[in-house]
Amino acid sequence: MDAAPDLLKRLRAGEESAWGELHREHYARLWSSVQRILNNPAAADDVVQEAFIKAHRDIKRFAGQSQLGTWLYRIAVNQALDTIRKKQRTDRWLSFLSPVAEDENQPAMPEGHVAPAASTGLENAELREIIFAAMGDLSPEHRAVVQLRLVDEMSLEETAQLLCCKPGTVNSRLHYACEHLRRKLGKVKRASESGT
């Protein structure tokens, strides 16, 4: 289905039904990935929408060397990373103007909140909440590494290239993030064991 010549032709022609098809097929995955990076549902909505608009504008330049879904995914991830960079630039300016300096070692707080949905395979909404909160404790850079390297299983080089950092930095961020997530989930287990 992906990058099928017929679909690609219809997409290039700007056919509304073809774009609807593409949206239906890829929206959920894109939104979840972007949301895991940004931890902000409203921003994730905007980023995914901008990604589709960019794809619509640039579809004629899509050479077809990769799968359409991969191409779209890269656009969305790049948009999400751009959003993070813009926000960091703004925050730097604001902290420069603000008399109170922020502690850089402090982990970023979650920017938004998503009500857990009941329609997923994961039965326990409480656990999802815990994972969500644990992800929210991480900085956007750490979340991006977790998403690209762990969840999407991108190569080390690809991840480093997308995040504009060294492969060693990707590894150390991934290690830190996974340890953090394991520690948070482990705490829950210990609390439950002592409670029972």
Partner: protein
């Protein structure tokens, strides 16, 4: 809770962590439809802009176009101003040696006349002086009209 916690042992492997993460951030019911209708509106329901309205859109291309147009206008105005100034600087000066000007009202011409002595013979072409104020001698005497050579 206990059922879920069985999925989260203290030393969880990466693939288990991945599985859990994949199940977080689900799309809410109806979210995809809402997103598509918003996107469709942005992609297809936008009114077509006329060419002049499209020129007013804040795009890089329009910015570059406006910059080039502004540069050309400034260049043209500057060039015109400098050229005119050069001509103005070459006007007859009553202090210049050999040039005398007399002004009077001519009833026959029904106009104020400025009589210049010491300039080139009158012709139907505009006459400009050099910036030095020196008057070049007329080389072609055949163009001299009968009577007063400076006659208007």
């Amino acid at each position: 809770m206990c059922q879920a916690l069985e999925l989260a042992p203290e030393f969880m492997e990466d693939r288990e962590l991945r599985k859990l993460l994949l199940e977080t951030c689900p799309v809410r019911p109806g979210q995809e439809d809402r997103a598509w209708s918003t996107l469709r509106e942005r992609l297809y329901a936008q009114p077509k802009l006329s060419w002049w309205a499209a020129l007013l859109q804040p795009t890089w291309r329009n910015g570059a176009f406006a910059g080039v147009a502004f540069g050309l206008i400034v260049g043209a105005v500057a060039s015109f101003a400098l050229t005119s100034q050069a001509r103005i600087l070459a006007t007859a000066d009553s202090q210049a040696p050999g040039i005398y000007a007399t002004s009077f009202y001519s009833k026959s011409a029904q106009a104020q006349v400025v009589w210049l002595n010491g300039m080139e013979p009158a012709s139907d072409k505009p006459t400009f002086l050099e910036k030095t104020g020196q008057v070049t001698n007329p080389s072609d005497n055949s163009a001299t009209p009968a009577g007063d050579p400076n006659s208007l």
